[in-house]
C-alpha cells in the first residue's frame, strides 16, 4: 500500500529549543495513525509542519508520492490536508456557516447565508454530523463546536484530517461518539492523524502508533494490538512510570470548606451554579470531575473571592467569606492555583521574585515601614526557587520566559509556602509533561499530609481517581454525585448528564 503522506527527516527549531529532530512519519490511506507522546514532545509541532503552519528547517514531505512545500495552511488544505487544533479556531460571535466559510474564496461578495446554511446541513448529513447552521458558536457546547471544526475541514474536501488532542475537552460518552465519527470518516475514505498523550485512547482507536519523546521518534508504526501500556509509556517517557501514587490512608479532620446552597452566574450573566452544597475537610482531597464548562471554574472563583454568588453561603474554617473580596479569602488561608497560569496566576513581564511575593508582600518581613524590602524579597524567592526546583537563569527573570512547568512551580511555590488551610487547585497539571505532573501531584499529597483541605478540579479522570479521597461530579452547575466510586463508566455517565440524555447514534 502506498503511503498517502510521508515526512522524512523533519527537523524544526524554535529559539532555544529543538522541537523536532530528524523525525520520520508516514500515513496510509484509510488509516487512523496515532502520534503519541507527552506534553512538549513535539507532536503538535510536527503536524503543524504537515498542515502548513510551520516550515521545517530540514527534511522533506511527500504527498501521494510528490514532494511538497507549504507556505501557509491554505496550501496544505488545497492538497487535502487539514488540522483541527487543540484550541478551536472558531469565531465565537459568528454563525456555524460563517465559520465554515471562513477563509474561502466563495461566495464572491454577497454572503447568501440561506443558501449556504442548507449546504452545511447537507454536508453534515453525509458524515453523520448534526449541525444547526445559523447558531452562533458561543451558543454551542464544546462537543458541538468540535463537530463544526470537523465539518469545516470536510467542507474543504480534506482527505487527511489531523486532530490535536481532540478528547481533552470531552466526557467519556462524547469521546465514544467522536470515535464513532472518526471510524465513519475512515469508512468514507479519509485518513486521520490522532495526536494524544492518553495511552488508553490511543490504544482503542489507532490502527498504528508512532511515539515521540523530546522531539525524536522512539518507536514508529507500532501495532497497538501487539504493544502493552507499560511498553508505550516507557517509550513516551523513557523510564518506568509509576501508575500508582503513594497515598496513605488518612482520617479527615474538621470541615474547612463549607458550601451551602451556593448559586452563581457566569460571565454571560447566565446561571452557572445552582444550589451547590459541598464540604471539604482538613487532610482530605475532594476531586471534582466534570466536563469543562459545567461550573467548575465558577466554583473555584467564588471560593477565592474572584466572583460573587447570587445565593448561598461559603464558610472557610467557620468564617463567612460569601461575597467577600479575594483579600479576605487570602487572609483566611485560602490558596488558589488558577486554571490560567499566564493570564491570572502570574504577571508575565514581572520577575519571579515579584510573582512569588504576590500574596505575602503586605506582611513583614517583606513589608517594612519604609516600603518593600527588596533584599528580603529576593532571599525568599531564591529559597523557594531551590525548594521547588524552578529552572530559570535567576530570580529576576520575567516569568514569561519560563516553560509551562516552571511557571506552575512558581505558582505552587507561592501558594503552598503559605501553609494554606484550604487549597483550591484548578487543572493544576494541564499541559505539563509527565515529570512535572508527578511533581505537582506529589506536592498536593504532601499538603494533604500536612492537614490542608484540598479541592481538586481536573479534567483528567485518572488524576481525580488516584489523588482524591472523595469524588464529586459536577454537571450543568449541580453536584450530581458526592462520594462516588472511582469507576470511569459511572462517573463518565454522570459527567454527561447520565440517564437524562441519550447519545445520538451517528449514521452507520
Amino acid at each position: 500500500m502506498d503511503n498517502l503522506v510521508e515526512m522524512q527527516g523533519i527537523t524544526k527549531r524554535f529559539p532555544g529549543v529543538i522541537a523536532n529532530e530528524d523525525v520520520d512519519f508516514e500515513l496510509r490511506p484509510g488509516e487512523i495513525h496515532a502520534l503519541l507522546g507527552e506534553n512538549g514532545a513535539g507532536k503538535s509541532t510536527l503536524m503543524s509542519v504537515l498542515a502548513g503552519l510551520y516550515k521545517s528547517e530540514e527534511g522533506t514531505m511527500l504527498v501521494r508520492g510528490n514532494p511538497v512545500s507549504f507556505n501557509s495552511p491554505r496550501d496544505a488544505i488545497d492538497l487535502g490536508i487539514g488540522m483541527i487544533h487543540q484550541h478551536f479556531t472558531l469565531i465565537q460571535s459568528q454563525t456555524v456557516t460563517e465559520n465554515i466559510l471562513l477563509g474561502l474564496d466563495e461566495p464572491r461578495f454577497l454572503m447568501r447565508l440561506s443558501h449556504y446554511d442548507k449546504q452545511m446541513v447537507h454536508v453534515g448529513d453525509q458524515f453523520g454530523l448534526q449541525v444547526t447552521p445559523d447558531a452562533k458558536i458561543w451558543q454551542l457546547s464544546v462537543g458541538e463546536q468540535q463537530r463544526v471544526e470537523i465539518l469545516k475541514m470536510l467542507y474543504r474536501g480534506v482527505e487527511v484530517l489531523i486532530m490535536d488532542e481532540p478528547t481533552s475537552v470531552l466526557a467519556p460518552q462524547e469521546i465514544d461518539e467522536l470515535f464513532k465519527t472518526l471510524r465513519a470518516m475512515v469508512a468514507e475514505g479519509k485518513s486521520i492523524v490522532f495526536i494524544s498523550h492518553k495511552l488508553h485512547e490511543v490504544m482503542t482507536i489507532a490502527d498504528r502508533i508512532t511515539v515521540l519523546r523530546q522531539g525524536k521518534v522512539t518507536a514508529a508504526r507500532l501495532d497497538p494490538k501487539q504493544s502493552s501500556k507499560a511498553e508505550l509509556a516507557n517509550l513516551m517517557v523513557g523510564r518506568k512510570v509509576l501508575f500508582e501514587l503513594e497515598k496513605t490512608a488518612k482520617e479527615p479532620g474538621d470541615v474547612v470548606l463549607d458550601l451551602q446552597q451556593v448559586s452563581a452566574d457566569n460571565d454571560k450573566r447566565l446561571p452557572a451554579l445552582h444550589g451547590v452544597s459541598l464540604t471539604v475537610r482538613s487532610g482530605e482531597i475532594v476531586g471534582v470531575a466534570g466536563v469543562a464548562g459545567n461550573g467548575q471554574s465558577e466554583l473555584g472563583e467564588i471560593i477565592t473571592g474572584l466572583r460573587s454568588c447570587t445565593g448561598g453561603t461559603i464558610l472557610v474554617g467557620g468564617n463567612d467569606v460569601t461575597n467577600r473580596s479575594a483579600r479576605t479569602s487570602i487572609n483566611y488561608g485560602v490558596a488558589h492555583v488558577p486554571e490560567d497560569r499566564n493570564h491570572v496566576g502570574t504577571a508575565p513581564n514581572l520577575s519571579i521574585t515579584d510573582n512569588i511575593i504576590m500574596k505575602k508582600y503586605r506582611d513583614p518581613p517583606l513589608a517594612k515601614r519604609t516600603g518593600l524590602d527588596r533584599n528580603a524579597a529576593q532571599e525568599m524567592a531564591k529559597g523557594l526557587k531551590e525548594e521547588y526546583t524552578i529552572l530559570a537563569p535567576s530570580v529576576e527573570t520575567p516569568t514569561r520566559n519560563l516553560s509551562g512547568g516552571n511557571v506552575q512551580r512558581v505558582i505552587l511555590a507561592r501558594e503552598l509556602s503559605s501553609q494554606p488551610t484550604l487549597l483550591i487547585a484548578m487543572q493544576p497539571t494541564r499541559g505539563l509533561d509527565v515529570g512535572a505532573i508527578e511533581g505537582v501531584q506529589r506536592l498536593l499529597l504532601e499538603q494533604r499530609e500536612a492537614g490542608a483541605a484540598i479541592l481538586l478540579v481536573s479534567e483528567e479522570l485518572e488524576e481525580i481517581f488516584s489523588l482524591s479521597d472523595r469524588i464529586v461530579v459536577i454537571y450543568e452547575g449541580e453536584i450530581v454525585a458526592d462520594g462516588i466510586e472511582a469507576d470511569a463508566e459511572k462517573v463518565g455517565l454522570l459527567m454527561t448528564g447520565g440517564s437524562k440524555v441519550h447519545a445520538k447514534e451517528p449514521a452507520a
Binding site: 524554535f14 503552519l53 510551520y54 501557509s72 495552511p73 491554505r74 488544505i77 488540522m83 487544533h85 487543540q86 484550541h87 478551536f88 479556531t89 472558531l90 469565531i91 465565537q92 460571535s93 459568528q94 460563517e98 466559510l101 471562513l102 477563509g103 466563495e106 461566495p107 464572491r108 461578495f109 454577497l110 454572503m111 469545516k152 454571560k268 450573566r269 497560569r341 499566564n342 509551562g404 511557571v407 499541559g431
Partner: protein, 322 residues
C-alpha cells in the same frame, strides 16, 4: 433658533464626523485602534485647502487629502502591525506627528487666499418631503450626499459580504482567521488604510464644505477626538455612528445660535446678556461626548455587545501556545 435651520447646518459638521468615525470603525473592527484621527484630519484639511488654493480644483484637493491621511495611517499600521508596538501610544504619536506636520506645512496658508466650496445640491423629489426634505436633501454639499451613501454601504459591507465577514473575523479572533488562511496582516493594513483615507476625506470636508480656510489647530478643534468617542458610542455600527455624528453636528450649531437672541424660550437669554457664559457652551460638545460614552459603556455591558474581541492586541503569527 429655528430647529430646521439648526439641523440643516448640523448635517455638514456631522458629515465631517461621519467620515472619520466610520473610517475608524473599519480600522477597529479589524482589531487595530488608531487614535491619530485628529492628526490625520488636520493633514487632510490642510492638504485639501492648499491644493484647492493652488489649483482651484476642489476634487483634486479631496484626492490629495485622502492620500495624505492614508499615508499617515500607514505609519501607524507598520508600527502596530509589524512592530507590535502599543497601539494607544502609537496613535498619540501619530496625532503629534500629524498636527505638527500640518502646522509646519500649512504655515502661511491662512493668508493664501480663499476658495470656493464644493457645489451644493438639492435633490428634486426628496427635498419636498416635509421636515426631512429641507434638512437632509436641500442645499447640502456634495460630500454630504456621499456621506449618506457611505452609511448603508458600510453596514452592508461589514455584515453581509464575504470580505466583511473576514474583516470581523480578523478583529474577533485573528489566530482562527490565520489558521483558515486569511492573511491577518494584509487585512489589518488594508483597513487601517481605509481609516486613514476616510479621515483625510473628513478633513477635506471641513475645508471644502464647512469652513473654508486654514485656522491652524482650530480647523479641527478636537473633532478627531470626538470621533474616537463616537466610535465607542456607535458600538462599531455605522448607523449608530451616523446618528451620533449628525446629532453632534446639530449640537454644535445650537451652541452657536443660542448666543444670538435676547429671548430664549420666552425668558431672558443668559448667554446673550453675559457673553462669558459662552465658555460653558464651549464645554458642551466635550461634556456630551463623556455622557455619550457613559451611556455607551453601560449599554454594552447590559447587552453584552462590545468591542471586537482582539481590539488593541497585537497579533503575532506562530506564537507557541503556553
Amino acid at each position: 433658533m429655528d430647529p430646521v435651520i439648526i439641523l440643516h447646518a448640523g448635517i455638514a459638521t456631522g458629515t465631517v464626523l461621519l467620515f472619520a468615525t466610520i473610517g475608524e470603525i473599519f480600522t477597529e473592527r479589524s482589531g487595530i485602534m488608531n487614535l491619530g484621527l485628529e492628526g490625520m484630519m488636520l493633514i487632510g484639511a490642510m492638504a485639501a485647502f492648499s491644493v484647492t488654493v493652488a489649483t482651484g480644483n476642489g476634487w483634486l484637493g479631496i484626492v490629495i487629502a485622502m492620500l495624505a491621511g492614508g499615508a499617515l495611517s500607514m505609519l501607524h499600521g507598520v508600527v502596530t502591525i509589524h512592530f507590535q508596538a502599543d497601539q494607544v501610544v502609537s496613535g498619540l504619536a501619530l496625532t503629534f506627528l500629524g498636527v505638527g506636520l500640518a502646522l509646519v506645512l500649512g504655515d502661511g496658508l491662512s493668508s493664501a487666499g480663499t476658495i470656493s466650496l464644493l457645489p451644493k445640491l438639492t435633490i428634486p423629489i426628496l427635498s419636498s418631503i416635509p421636515v426631512i426634505g429641507p434638512i437632509f436633501f436641500t442645499d447640502q454639499s456634495v460630500l454630504v450626499y456621499v456621506g449618506y451613501l457611505l452609511i448603508p454601504f458600510s453596514w452592508f459591507y461589514i455584515n453581509r459580504t464575504r470580505p466583511g465577514m473576514h474583516l470581523r473575523a480578523v478583529g474577533e479572533n485573528p489566530s482562527a482567521a490565520d489558521a483558515m488562511g486569511v492573511n491577518v496582516y494584509r487585512q489589518r493594513y488594508a483597513y487601517v488604510l481605509v481609516g486613514g483615507l476616510l479621515a483625510g476625506l473628513s478633513g477635506a470636508t471641513i475645508s471644502l464644505a464647512v469652513s473654508p480656510g486654514w485656522f491652524s489647530e482650530l480647523t479641527t478643534g478636537g473633532l478627531g477626538w470626538i470621533a474616537v468617542g463616537l466610535v465607542i458610542f456607535s458600538a462599531w455600527d455605522p448607523w449608530r455612528a451616523a446618528f451620533g455624528a449628525y446629532a453632534f453636528g446639530a449640537l454644535r450649531r445650537t451652541i452657536l445660535d443660542i448666543q444670538g437672541p435676547q429671548l430664549l424660550l420666552g425668558l431672558r437669554n443668559p448667554f446673550f446678556f453675559n457673553p462669558y457664559y459662552g465658555f460653558f457652551l464651549q464645554m458642551l460638545p466635550f461634556l456630551f461626548v463623556i455622557i455619550v460614552l457613559i451611556i455607551g459603556s453601560r449599554e454594552a455591558v447590559r447587552k453584552r455587545m462590545g468591542a471586537p474581541a482582539a481590539l488593541g492586541l497585537p497579533y503575532v503569527r506562530g506564537e507557541r501556545g503556553l
